[in-house]
């Protein structure tokens, strides 16, 4: 049953357009949605360089 779900049903779901688009977008952006903590992300979410132009971080 588990094998049927994981090896047959789930791969077929990848053919469903919204799911396919979601996975493709995440792969394209290098995002790992399964990360439990920020240290597991592909890129560490440090302060973006552009933020100082838009937001006053320390008044």
């Amino acid at each position: 049953m588990t094998a049927a779900v994981w090896c047959v049903l789930l791969p077929r779901l990848l053919g469903v357009t919204p799911i396919q688009q979601h996975v493709a977008l995440m792969e394209d952006r290098g995002v790992d949605p399964s990360a439990m903590y920020y240290t597991e992300l592909e890129r560490l979410p440090l302060r973006p360089a552009w933020i100082d132009d838009v937001i006053i971080l320390w008044p």
């Binding site: 994981w6 949605p33 439990m36 920020y38 240290t39 992300l41 560490l44 979410p45 937001i55 971080l57």
Partner: protein, 462 residues
């Protein structure tokens, strides 16, 4: 063959967890230091995730796969990369044996059990790395619990496995190691607006949700209320693990919290970007809203990125600030629990400090100690930042992941479906989660709009 008996007294489980956890951190930092690059060691551009280490590639988890599970153990060129997973599994066996030895128990009797647990943890990782599962944030703890529940309830727990079922020890050791990733310096990543969004809203939502669960919904278990509130208001599964351990939540309560959290995370990951687009929200405010509300870090990034690069970056950074609160929150919960919840009014009275110390979960000190020491090192300069990040993101995050995974397998094995039923039948945990998350959504949107949208927004000259 006569059963092995240890004639020496062993350490307490918490002490064993702290000793092994801290030793692991010291080794990881030492190995990363010894392999430090000679070329531009302070360059963030060159080493975006910290100093690389040859040890980092030795430990890993199965990769993503679509329809053939064996593809999880091959790289893009079709070459087998099974050894990092085997070493990860072996690591859990090693920690189990060391822990048992430190606790003064017979190690040989537990070895077959640890090997089976390692295999089941590997299976959980394989299940979690199927692409649809992975890209919809159904994280490995869910499958570790499910594997354990299925095996435990379908086949039962054989006697030879019992000595190895030290799930709490694995979780505690993993938490001590995890402490090194909880860096206080991250709290300042988005300055005052980031601090306000994370530090004002999160404690308010956590406390109100907890009190709502205890006094209004009258959920029988305070530890379930606390674990669920922390999971929902802070940062998902990692917060549930830390606060659940701090308030001595039952394994069924942590299991239920994780299941609820991951279900709603998937829903919010899909729905929130659509709502934000519909509301025509500014992407920075939208990103901050996502970062402060969706539980899981990976899901936050996924939802933020679907709105655009800026929203994704803000969302991820806000979530990282919340991630960094785990240490203080776990400590506060442990103090509160030891001093006020576990307190026996009819028992002998001592000083408050004495009472708290007596009941305080010692492994939290190891967790905090690791956090404080690594924060101190990380704050010294750019080279030290890359040193700590290399050791944690490259080595220790994978090691503690394996320990959490095997810990959850143990929890699943020791949980009876019937014990979960009362929690599910009443529906109150679901109501608690939804009510708390509704408050979280409202307050975070208000704070994000106030800080990122108005108070600290720079006016752009036309």
């Amino acid at each position: 063959m006569p059963e092995e008996r240890s004639s020496r007294r062993g350490f307490h489980e918490d002490t064993a967890a702290v000793l092994i956890g801290l030793a692991t951190l010291v080794l990881a930092l030492a190995m990363t230091w010894l392999a430090r690059p000679a070329d531009e060691p302070a360059s963030r551009d060159r080493y975006p995730k910290g100093w690389p280490s040859p040890v980092a590639a030795m430990v890993g988890t199965p990769g993503a796969w679509v329809e053939q599970p064996l593809a999880a153990f091959q790289n893009k060129d079709g070459e087998p990369v099974v050894w990092p997973t085997v070493i990860g599994m072996g690591w859990t066996v090693l920690v189990g044996l060391l822990g048992i030895a430190l606790m003064g128990r017979a190690g040989r009797a537990a070895l077959p059990g640890f090997v089976l647990l390692a295999f089941l943890a590997g299976l959980a990782y394989v299940l979690a790395s199927q692409k649809v599962i992975k890209y919809y944030n159904l994280e490995y703890p869910l499958w570790a619990l499910a594997v354990g529940l299925f095996v435990g309830n379908a086949a039962g727990v054989p006697r030879w496995l019992a000595p190895a079922l030290v799930g709490e020890f694995f979780i505690k050791t993993g938490l001590v190691i995890f402490g090194a990733e909880v860096l206080g310096s991250r709290l300042l990543a988005l300055g005052l607006p980031g601090l306000m969004t994370a530090w004002i809203v999160t404690p308010i939502v956590l406390v109100i949700t907890y009190l709502f669960g205890v006094h209004v919904l009258r959920v029988p278990s305070r530890s379930l209320c606390m674990t669920l509130s922390a999971d929902m208001s802070v940062c998902g599964v990692s917060a549930a693990i830390a606060t659940g351990a701090a308030c001595r939540a039952k394994k069924e309560e942590i299991s239920l919290t994780i299941g609820l959290s991951l279900f709603f995370t998937v829903v919010m990951m899909v729905v929130m970007p659509a709502v934000i687009r519909q509301m025509d929200l500014d992407p920075i405010i939208g990103g901050a809203w996502i970062g402060g509300t969706i539980d899981a870090t990976g899901a936050v990034v996924a939802a933020g990125e679907s709105l655009g690069k800026k929203a994704g970056e803000v969302a991820a950074t806000v979530k990282m600030i919340q991630n960094s609160m785990i240490g203080l929150i776990a400590f506060a919960v442990a103090v509160y629990w030891a001093g006020w919840v576990d307190h026996d009014p009819a028992g002998p009275r001592g000083t408050l400090f004495g009472e708290v110390w007596r009941r305080f979960p010692r492994f939290i000190l190891g967790f905090l100690g690791a956090s404080l020491v690594c924060t101190a090192i990380h704050s010294l300069g750019p080279e030290q930042e890359l040193w700590v990040e290399g050791a944690t993101t490259g080595i220790t995050s994978k090691l503690r992941g394996w320990l959490f995974c095997v810990g959850f397998v143990c929890m699943g094995l020791q949980t009876n479906f019937r014990e979960l039923a009362p929690f599910l039948a009443s529906g109150r945990p679901v109501v608690l989660y939804v009510a708390g998350q509704a408050l979280n959504l409202a307050l975070t949107l208000a704070m994000a709009s106030l800080t990122f949208g108005w108070l600290f927004r720079k006016v752009v000259e036309p």
